[in-house]
Point group: C2
Chain length 194, copies 2
DNA sequence: GACTTTGTTGAGCGGTTGCTCAATTGAGCA
DNA sequence: TGCTCAATTGAGCAACCGCTCAACAAAGTC
């Protein structure tokens, strides 16, 4: 309810949208969820954003922050440490919401161009980060990995695939099993270690 | 509009539902889509099915038929032929609708127990079929493959993951690239060939 | 042919959604 | 203090959804 300058209100709404999609998912989240999170009238959101644009921006921001936290922002650390942490935390409970966003963005992207664009750009950033991580490890002699650019695509694919299998209620694949499979796939791509 | 015995009407509705979800996807399909496909009043559907149950049954039937067509029903053929066809056709245009169903079932499963159950059972059938295919190939000496049961999970995961990447409009990954990555992943799992 | 049974109709209910817009509020300024 | 105008409100619109239900129509039975 406090009165704010336009730009500040925009960022507050964006942050509320990020919380909302993390809690309810991209498909189930509504404009009213966001405004009630802020304690603000329903009409205010449409004054600053279209729902389609806001939702895509929130998705982009959330996954961008996660890529930064887990890969891009750790360029100074040993590649094997970064990759190992990535594998260990991939299917933790806290990661569920993020995987859900990825899967939903893929699906909703077919009817929401803004979301499709955000998913496409996010994937590119992710792949680029992972690829340079693998290249660093190869350069350091930590592991073989003839083609970091290709390996990163396969690792992303198996991450997304295993995550989807884990997200099915009454899941046919446990988190531990998924982590195990991911570790082996990564070993296939990196030659040794991980 | 012709008058039918209950059981016949049920199968007609189920078939129409299958066509509908293949055309529009699980999330976008509506009960009215199905009844108008049959040229029948909207109220008739609810007389035979709940939408949740019908949608899950249609999904289960569609993917069951595909697993039968591509794996389970080809138990008499050479394992390498079956696997090779699987890889070649995985990301064809015709397969798009099926992959979309898998991804949507995963997502909608979190709010639709019937769909979650169908996805879970479908995954199990798929994994069992693929696992026995790999086991047959190993027994025939076609390829190494120390653990068909584990390899089948990883192949399914990378199939789902690559399919999701291909489905994003303005896709960051082309069909050919996806097929290439799948082929290499399968080679990793099977040792030689494929 | 009268009567029951059952498949079928379609208007409409109750609920949800993103978004509109006239009215209201309050901060900034003369 | 009074004026201005952007920020905010919230009832409500239009569209969509699955599903209900009283009414109708066609077999089946005697």
């Amino acid at each position: 309810m406090p009165r704010l300058k336009g730009a500040d209100r925009r960022t507050l709404i964006l942050e509320a949208a990020e919380r909302t999609i993390l809690r309810k998912g991209l498909a189930a989240a509504t404009t009213r969820d966001v405004t009630s999170d802020l304690g603000v009238a329903a009409g205010l959101l449409a004054h600053y954003f279209s729902w389609s644009a806001l939702r895509a921006a929130a998705f982009s921001h959330v996954i961008g922050a996660d890529i930064e936290r887990s890969v891009t922002g750790r360029m100074g650390e040993a590649p094997e440490t970064v990759l190992s942490d990535l594998v260990d935390g991939a299917f933790s409970v806290e990661a569920d919401a993020l995987w859900r966003l990825w899967l939903e963005a893929t699906e909703l992207g077919s009817s929401d161009p803004a979301l499709a664009d955000a998913a496409s750009r996010g994937t590119d950033r992710w792949q680029a980060g992972l690829s340079s991580l693998l290249a660093r490890g190869r350069a350091a002699g930590t592991w073989a990995c003839p083609s970091p650019d290709e390996s990163s695509w396969r690792i992303i694919a198996i991450l997304l695939g295993l995550a989807g299998l884990c997200l099915i209620p009454g899941s046919p694949l446990s988190r531990d099993a998924a982590t195990h499979h991911l570790r082996i796939a990564v070993r296939h791509e990196c030659g040794t270690s991980a």
